[in-house]
């Protein structure tokens, strides 16, 4: 059924609100994202912009209420997910979509050995069809795949006996054992130090390349994303504002918010005199502006920005939601710093 023209994941026109005591909080607004098979996409943006809510809600992991999906569709290899029963969604999450999160300790039970937890998870993924011995063999194979030294020994360890990087590998192994079509990694290395972070990122890049894994990697660090992903979507206040090949994001960042993110990053191998921070804060999403959500913080905002802003194509595979790219005179303004 899958050919190269069927995207692995397609999110169209997806909007979500939270019903709160203070009113309706417009957390996600008309998001479009398409992932082709084997593609690794980074999702970046500042804290609270909606990265986790978007990727969780798409697979039924955000409780409704308080959340309410107000528009859109989410298809996995052509199959619509919105409206599926909880039971069906659980099946999708166990089998076709795997997720790993920032803090591995929260997802491992401290009182059971690593091996027991892996075997149980793999048997659950198979719907009880795999025997204990089959699950054990697959678990060891996966531990080997994620380069955990001495898998046989780690099998008998308890979570606290492993380092942070080793625990994260166990979770990656658990996630990949089901041979998912899509892996969602939400800040998978934030809790780790740089040498261990680099090992995990190497591993993820290898999995994408060798196993043809399709992946969304969420981070607020563009440097981390650059290590693994070929494409990046930048999110601001519940909207995707730029979607581009990774090189384009660094060489020709087009949305003023993306430009701001890059200007705020120090560089380990270059002297930088001054870092620019983005003045102001996220808009109040109980009462979001009708036009560009970045306008209140944008030095280049002008009259046209008060109306809703659609995507413009500014290069191959490079789209940006900003009015600066409409007219010759504003285009020049767009790249002035």
């Amino acid at each position: 059924m899958t050919d190269s023209s069927t995207p692995t994941l397609e999110i169209r026109d997806f909007s979500l609100v939270f019903d709160t005591f203070d009113g309706t909080y417009h957390a996600i607004d008309k998001v479009n994202l398409t992932l082709r098979p084997g593609e690794a996409m980074g999702l970046v943006g500042e804290t609270g912009c909606g990265k986790s809510v978007l990727t969780r809600a798409a697979f039924g992991l955000v409780p409704t209420p308080p959340a309410r999906i107000t528009s859109g569709s989410v298809t996995l290899e052509g199959r619509e997910l919105l409206g599926l029963s909880d039971r069906a969604l659980r099946g999708v999450r166990g089998k076709d979509v795997a997720m790993i999160f920032q803090d591995p300790m929260t997802y491992l039970n401290p009182v059971f050995r690593i091996g027991t937890q892996l075997v149980d998870a793999i048997r659950a993924q198979s719907g009880g069809k795999a025997s204990k011995a089959e699950a054990r063999a697959l678990a060891l194979e996966m531990l080997d795949k994620v380069h955990l030294p001495n898998p046989e020994r780690q099998f008998r360890s308890y979570p606290h006996e492993l380092s942070g990087g080793m625990r994260q590998r166990v979770l990656i192994a658990m996630a990949l054992a089901a041979k998912p079509k899509l892996l969602i990694a939400d800040e998978p290395t934030t809790a780790l130090d740089v040498t261990i972070q680099a090992q995990i990122l190497d591993l993820m890049a290898e999995l994408v390349e060798d196993m043809g894994l399709t992946m969304i990697m969420i981070s607020h660090d563009l440097g981390v994303v650059a290590q693994v992903c070929s494409r990046v979507a930048v999110m601001y206040a519940g909207k995707i504002v730029e979607d581009a090949p990774i090189r384009q994001i660094f060489d020709a960042p087009s949305h003023p918010y993306t430009q701001g993110l890059l200007a705020a990053l120090p560089h380990p191998f270059k002297p930088v005199d001054k870092l620019a921070s983005i003045p102001g804060s996220l808009p109040d999403l109980l009462n979001p502006p009708e036009g560009c959500r970045f306008a209140a913080r944008c030095a280049k905002a002008h009259a046209a920005c008060a109306a809703p802003v659609d995507f413009r194509t500014v290069g191959p595979g490079h789209e940006v939601a900003c009015t600066l790219y409409d007219l010759a005179e504003t285009k020049e303004l767009a790249h002035e710093h």
Binding site: E46, T47, P149, S163, G164, D193, V194, T195, I196, Q197, A198, Q199, L201, D202, H220, D221, L222, G223, V224, A226, Q227, I246, R247, I249, F250, D251, G260, L261, L262, A263, A264, L265, P266, H267, P268, F269, K270, P271, V272, K274, L275, A276, S277, I278, S281
Partner: protein, 326 residues
């Protein structure tokens, strides 16, 4: 020596653990900071960075060695000396949320130290506090707010204001921006860099995992591994041409915000040793890609001086240039 703002000599900090063993959290560290200097302290998780920082402020007692802050012998200081120390040196931690009292307005939080340590009261006190908060980018409408009414970056600025209002000469910063967003991080780094101009004597020891941040802010950097400083020198030179194999591995692992310049990764293999059971010889030999059997596993290296005030703790520090990139 008397010209140093902070001088740490042969510092050991050992923590006793069960069955008579000790964790050698800090093992023979020597480091000095001149007035006005900002020095970065980097290294693997658990290598002893925080312990060094806390020992300098005497929040942790040293096992052996000497620490002087502007000529004051920290380890020998009595009640009076400690009081002077609290004014001279301040520490800022990673998590601004737990460092602030939730029931105190930020005005009060900043005034507290002045009330305890100075005779400043009334209007003069109010003015000094307000001035400090404004200098940190917190205008008057914020001053009567409680911590929960502020963002993470604003809270961290309150912590910096609270430390600076006592006009310390030495500031120890332990991962002050790692809980913050990149844009907020840029604000805080800007504040710290500006301080270097407005307070030329202010000396900073900056602990961080983020090497890009260290590069932005620091004059010199010291790299720790298992309780020891393994390399030290001007930050541009150490990052540009690291000589200790651990520093090389660390630098090659840094995520670079660019799609093209990814340095060739130098992978470390082997188990990470525990500071309760430090390997013999060079402590790094169990993971070092260029370790020599019969040398590194038997003889502990001495610091090797290199050009322009640099040094590295490796038998082959003067020969390693380029040796690993091949």
């Amino acid at each position: 020596m008397s010209t140093d703002m902070l001088s740490i000599r042969n510092l050991d900090v050992h923590f006793p653990i069960s069955n008579g063993q000790v964790v050698r959290a800090v093992d023979g560290v020597t480091l000095s900071l001149k007035p006005g200097e900002t020095v970065g302290l980097v290294g693997e998780s658990g290598s002893g960075k925080t312990t060094v920082g806390k020992t300098v402020l005497r929040l942790v007692e040293a096992t052996a060695g000497e620490i002087d802050i502007d000529g004051l012998d920290v380890r020998a200081a009595g009640q009076k000396g400690l009081k002077a120390l609290r004014r001279k040196a301040q520490i800022i931690f990673q998590d601004p949320h737990s460092s602030l009292n939730p029931r105190m307005t930020i005005r009060r939080a900043v005034a507290e130290g002045l009330i305890l340590n100075t005779s400043l009261r009334g209007n003069a006190l109010r003015e000094k506090v307000a001035e400090m908060l404004i200098a940190m980018g917190l205008p008057p409408q914020f001053h009567d707010r409680f911590p929960h009414e502020l963002s993470g970056g604003q809270k961290q600025r309150v912590c910096i204001a609270r430390a600076l209002v006592l006009e310390p000469d030495l500031l120890v910063l332990d991962e002050p921006t790692s809980a913050l967003d990149v844009s907020v991080q840029a604000q805080i780094l800007g504040v710290l860099k500006d301080l270097r101009l407005s307070r030329p004597r202010l000396t900073q020891l900056f602990i961080s995992h983020n090497l890009a941040v260290i590069r932005f802010l620091c004059d010199r950097v010291a790299v720790m591994y298992l309780g020891k400083i393994v390399e030290e020198g001007p930050v541009a030179e150490v990052f540009g041409d690291p000589r200790h194999p651990y520093t090389r591995a660390l630098l090659s692992a840094v995520p670079v915000p660019s799609a093209v310049e990814r340095p060739e990764r130098l992978r470390l293999t082997g188990d990470i040793p525990s500071p309760a059971n430090v390997p013999k010889g060079c402590a790094f030999h169990t993971r070092c890609p260029i370790a020599k059997v019969g040398v590194c596993d038997t003889r502990a290296p001495e610091p090797v001086p290199l050009s322009s005030g640099r040094q590295a703790l490796c038998h082959f520090a003067d020969q390693t240039k380029g040796a690993l990139s091949a």
